[in-house]
Symmetry: C2
Subunit: 131 residues, 2 copies
DNA sequence: CTAAAGTTTGACACTGGTGTCAATGTCAAG
DNA sequence: CTTGACATTGACACCAGTGTCAAACTTTAG
């Protein structure tokens, strides 16, 4: 698929898709015309990247993070010892963000509940696994 | 306490504390000399603000969010119907961020585990409540 | 009293994430 | 062939969050 379709399916603007590629967060094949071409797997990838960036993770880290993820999936025992430490560090940062957001989420919920606006809570179901 | 101490205790620079105040996220009394003075409760508040901002919530929303929280605490039945909807909307955004971060956190953990770097997981304990 | 440390406001500047526009190229439909 | 939709690259620009520096004042320590 071409960039326009990818954008439509992920809700991420073409501008950002190109930007992410420029930041090395994405790779795209090129058709003979020069057009970028994407596969199904890119849809997931793009959503993921956008989500993380929006959640305050700088692109530089998003890369490290998703790369590690891929490596793990193909269970390469690639553990350059030093990357591991960087990830561990990042882990506590991520956890901090999660905690902070979780508190706020709960606050919002309580508030809505306390003000008889429970109705609005319908649209917010979903996972959010345990620690 | 004065701004310097507050900064030290929260790990947030004085620059940002002033910035947050300017954005109406913080209020500070002034000593006769003009120095800002803070109470214990500000420590919590500042950490909270910084955390949310770092988690990608724009200051404008942080305000709405924390204000609602305060209102709830003093259980004022202030539910301007329209604010409630904004909060509900924001709620799904927050939940999305949480989900995205949670996935990444788990990925990092698995990765570290899969590469014998479990040792580094020590420092990451903590809550993260259920949905 | 003086020097050092902390505070105030205000300005300048940078970075990262995005929007938007321009000029050009490609492709599919009429 | 022409038109219109979509791509490409590159530039300009904006906003939010921060750092940093300057000039002036206050407070604390010696």
């Amino acid at each position: 698929m071409k960039i326009g379709e990818l954008a439509a399916r992920t809700g991420v603007t073409t501008r950002l898709i190109r930007y992410y590629e420029q930041q090395d967060l994405l790779e795209a094949d090129r058709a003979p015309n020069g057009y970028r071409t994407y596969t199904e797997s890119h849809v997931e990838r793009v959503s993921r990247v956008a989500g993380l960036v929006q959640a305050g993770i700088p692109t530089r880290l998003v890369k490290v993070l998703l790369d590690a993820e891929l490596a793990a999936a193909r269970d390469e025992p690639t553990c350059p010892r030093e990357v591991a430490e960087q990830l561990a560090t990042e882990l506590v940062g991520v956890q901090a963000r999660i905690d902070c957001l979780t508190r706020s989420r709960d606050s919002i919920r309580s508030f809505l509940k306390a003000t008889q606006n429970e109705v609005l809570l319908r649209e917010a179901a979903e996972p959010a696994l345990t620690s």
